[in-house]
Assembly symmetry: C2
């Protein structure tokens, strides 16, 4: 398990490896972000889940080192370069910081990311944790999970990640793989998932799921304005187009977010059945739709959770650290190495 560290004096660095970019922060113990940096995620080979020589893992480790270099340069000479770096990675990260399985970072499965990053940052101590567990840690320390005993962080992005908080601590499970909630199967006859199975929750309620719902709506003629803006081809409609159009008041796009909310709620109902949290925090890119997604999610949740009327209401709310949650949490995880709790 990982706990928020106590107050300390040093700045630590955190880097969150996302589907499109790596995002890094230099974090003060107070939670203040001193500076931030980003680089694009290296091109990955979509046809491979594992890559025999871990080339993708090497490229990703290089990119992490680039972010750390930028952050260190930004911190300048007035501060010593932080010697402690935390990294959040998408997928199954074991207790030694190896990325054992990463369906959303094709080709990186099996890469010993902690070693690879460590080799590139010789003077630094490096820790690698699952990205959503990092986000949970960030929200627990400085965001929407503050003071929560039983809670769940859900990151809705390229895939779906989760961080399960029990008794005020992010729980990693026996191998470090707890919170892989995007790969709950919610329909065994559903669409193929990059993880190799069918009907995983993230096929429906992630960015990819939104894209699929969007294209279905586009082909069905429910998104005339969005399709027109996409050059007339329903195939060119993407998830981001829906969020943007919905925020602009497009009814068809709002309808697609309603559908997405139903699928988000389905998985949340399953998570609640298992862990009975007091609060669920939604982060990741899709959460930027705000109430346009949260509203339908809350409504569908009360239909989809067992015994809704017998339960006290559960708070389903947006993350407060936004895109920074994972990087902040990674920096916190790193600090726990030098300041054991």
């Amino acid at each position: 398990m990982i706990e928020p560290p106590g107050p300390g004096s040093g700045v630590t660095l955190g880097v969150d490896i996302g589907g499109t970019k790596l995002f890094g922060v230099a974090l003060e113990p107070s939670g203040r972000v001193v500076c931030e940096a980003r680089v694009p995620t290296p091109q990955v080979d979509q046809t491979l889940v594992e890559h025999p020589d871990h080339r993708v893992g090497v490229d990703v480790a290089d990119a992490v080192a680039d972010v750390v270099g930028q952050l260190s340069a930004d911190l300048g000479t007035s501060r010593p370069v932080p010697a402690v770096v935390g990294v959040g990675a998408p997928g199954m990260v074991d207790h030694h910081g190896a990325l054992r399985f990463a369906p959303n970072l094709p080709g990186a499965s099996g890469a010993d990311l902690q070693r690879l990053v460590g080799e590139r940052l010789e003077a630094a101590t490096v820790i690698v944790e699952n990205d959503a567990n990092c986000a949970a840690l960030g929200e627990l320390a400085f965001g929407a999970l503050r003071g929560v005993g039983e809670g769940v962080m859900v990151t809705l992005g390229t895939g779906i990640g989760g961080g399960v908080v029990v008794d005020g601590k992010v729980r990693l499970g026996c191998s470090g793989f707890a919170g892989e909630i995007g790969h709950m199967i919610v329909d065994p006859a559903g669409p193929q998932c990059p993880c190799g199975r069918r009907g995983c929750w993230e096929r429906y309620a992630s960015g990819g799921g939104l894209g699929r719902l969007a294209r279905e709506a586009a082909y069905a003629g429910r998104l005339p304005h969005v399709v027109a803006r996409a050059g007339g081809d329903p195939e060119n409609v993407h998830g981001e187009d829906i969020t943007r159009a919905a925020l602009g008041g497009d009814e068809g796009a709002i309808g697609v977010l309603d559908e997405l909310g139903w699928w988000v709620a389905l998985g949340l109902a399953n998570v609640v059945a298992m862990v009975d949290p007091e609060r669920i925090v939604l982060g990741g890119g899709l959460a930027e739709a705000g109430e346009l997604l949260l509203g339908p999610t809350r409504r569908a949740y009360t239909e989809l959770v067992e015994g809704a009327r017998a339960r006290p209401p559960i708070e389903i709310m947006a993350a407060t650290l936004g895109e920074r949650a994972g990087a902040i949490g990674a920096a916190l995880a790193a600090r726990s190495l030098v300041e054991p709790t």
Copy 2:
């Protein structure tokens, strides 16, 4: 959360409310069962989930009192009648021992079971907990979960119950409703569940699910011997017939248990995605099929869990306390009232 109590001197009573019978034990602190008792579960109104005057809850409380009376009589005059009684109930039990929602005990939803049982046992202190959480507590103290930090107890009976062990403790969640894993939705277009939703895991992998698979196989002509023994009508084939025939070597029945194992594994894969346990223990009536169910469950699990090759093997094994697990755990939960840990 509930923890196994430390050693103490008194006998406590535990009663497990099952779908067909109530089963009670008098338990010594060592784990020795001094005596046991059982009475049939009161007839419940299958058409109602809630009953306005909680008549079913009253009947069930009467039955609990009957079991306690039998156990007290059996204990005789050589021991004082135990003043502490634990009760395991199926469904969502809150922190005050009220049965808030009980899809598998129709008509009892909303009954304040702890108060009702307490009124019938005036001299006793009564605690009511979820039956599967009790079973987890029993297995944790004296059975297959001994020494396990991260584990899950799964009871496969009339429905499916769960008890989630994190850091060596059975976790109840913020309202007492954690571990309701039977009501994870695994196919939103699936069969109607008594809980009011569709496609809950327990529609596929409980006694009811086995019955459905059995009738499908019977109508498809895959169970000629079983159907003959059931009087020639596929509709008369029940889950127990399958288990019995499979244990006797009937190939069609073994095939049905293979199918059941696939559905059991599907839910286990979802549980593992969320909590990453080191061990899963299967109890309840269906677990009596032993290796005939465990074998296909283990095989299907490796197909159905995310990143099987990247994980260390997880132990999927049978409960060791058998039908007594819930009652033993209920007695332990009761002891924790008088001997706080």
